[in-house]
Point group: C2
Amino acid sequence: MARHVNIAGAQLGPIARNESRQSVVARMIEMLREAHSRGAEVVVFPELALTSFFPRWWMENQDDVDAFFEREMPSAATRPLFETAQELGIGFYLGYAELAVEDGTPKHYNTAILVDRSGTIVGKYRKVHLPGHADHRPHMPYQHLEKHYFDVGDLGFDSWDFAGGKFGMAICNDRRWPETYRVMALKGAEVVVLGYNTPTHIPWEPVYDHLSAFHNHLCMQAGAYQNSMYVVGVAKAGPEEGSNLLAGSCIIAPSGEIVAMAATSGDEVFAAKCDLDICLYNRKAMFNFAEHRQVQHYGIITAHPGSER
Amino acid sequence: MARHVNIAGAQLGPIARNESRQSVVARMIEMLREAHSRGAEVVVFPELALTSFFPRWWMENQDDVDAFFEREMPSAATRPLFETAQELGIGFYLGYAELAVEDGTPKHYNTAILVDRSGTIVGKYRKVHLPGHADHRPHMPYQHLEKHYFDVGDLGFDSWDFAGGKFGMAICNDRRWPETYRVMALKGAEVVVLGYNTPTHIPWEPVYDHLSAFHNHLCMQAGAYQNSMYVVGVAKAGPEEGSNLLAGSCIIAPSGEIVAMAATSGDEVFAAKCDLDICLYNRKAMFNFAEHRQVQHYGIITAHPGSER
């Protein structure tokens, strides 16, 4: 018996530095309604979906930084999104900057949540693979200060019962690391949802700029195929405050094929009817993990981060 | 300073069940000479390059099985290959079925070796990820009995100083598993060479038959990009004893791009001048393992082979 779930991606175009959360949430609600009208049961929003991609700016004043973070979820500004989802009976994935106080210490995470059709947060993920740098590079046109502004996620990768299947979450740079998909597949994930903000020009290593769209899809397609899962990647896209962000948001089947894709660099809904039982094709055959994986030869993968060389 | 190595792939067309090793070696020597004439310093031959792909046949008599295995390397039949390589000053990768006696017990491995320009074997690898099945499936047009005829490789993945760089070896189905590339990258490999025999029709799971060429390249391209390494994949290709074998042999740069590829399903040499220093582009930036990998969240990858679910 097929287990179908209709999943939509809700790509966001640029968000200006001075655009309010209320304005962004209004854009998201409009896409939520469109997704619902097209039969979607789950909507995937981007990483850090509520504000401009602030790690591009070096900020000396911590209050300026913290202004981009959420202290509660939902907040007054984001509650209308939750209420609309509940009204429509539709679940969603949302990425945002999370300011949490743990044992009296402020912690900053690049976070994503899964919200079910009743408007309840059922899963939380904090980004594990923070890209970029921690130092100020004033000679560059913009920064990528995720290593400066965020703590490494402490929750690891997981999977949740959601929308009739098992869903895992990742964020942006996580998608380039094969460990991301593998850990979630081993935890039973059938769908990995993730948002991203990816500058198409990396000032400190521009040699692969022309390949950014190719690399984006390559990693997600390989992750989907090698782990027999759907992967849904959703961008904040387009020219945002002097940095062009990659579009190419898509839904990838367990075959590795792109089955739905955004065609613009702006606010755009795209959707696919996903049959979660397709995940079983290869999980029972070529990628039957229990039959084929040889963990006795993988030790170095978890032994230490860097190369022996 | 660039570190260039000119690498050739030597794809083999079909080998009939009754074709002698002498005949196959003559075909390989012809390609070795062509590769040398085109400036190659290293030639990569396929998996199980000396015989027909025998795991497609159920054989009850162990002597019939062992007839496909090599008891010594080089042997009388294969020595001319080693001698020609030495004469030309060219190194090579060769896949073959290895019968080793360990503590009085015969062990059967799907093996590959690296032979340097002086004709000396400098590295050996025994296939870790054995695909297929161990049981006889007489209702199918052919078998894939690697799990029946071979022992799981006991040497693990490694890398060797070779041809001015660090080379790692894999075989066929290994290329579908991201752990393969990751382990070798962590051991410093800059080039992974591998051979394959891949039926384009999988009788017990035909649902992805039409995607076999896509999947072949997808896995190797992702492995190359995500590990900042060259990947050289070389097929035994074409219609062989009732089974069509995938071609598409290629050389993939650390960008994930295919930079050389075979255009036929027969004996064919293709080559690329590889700059090993390109591997450093991403190893110093986006894929700086020591800076970005978070092994505290990868534990399940090495904990057990199968899914928790």
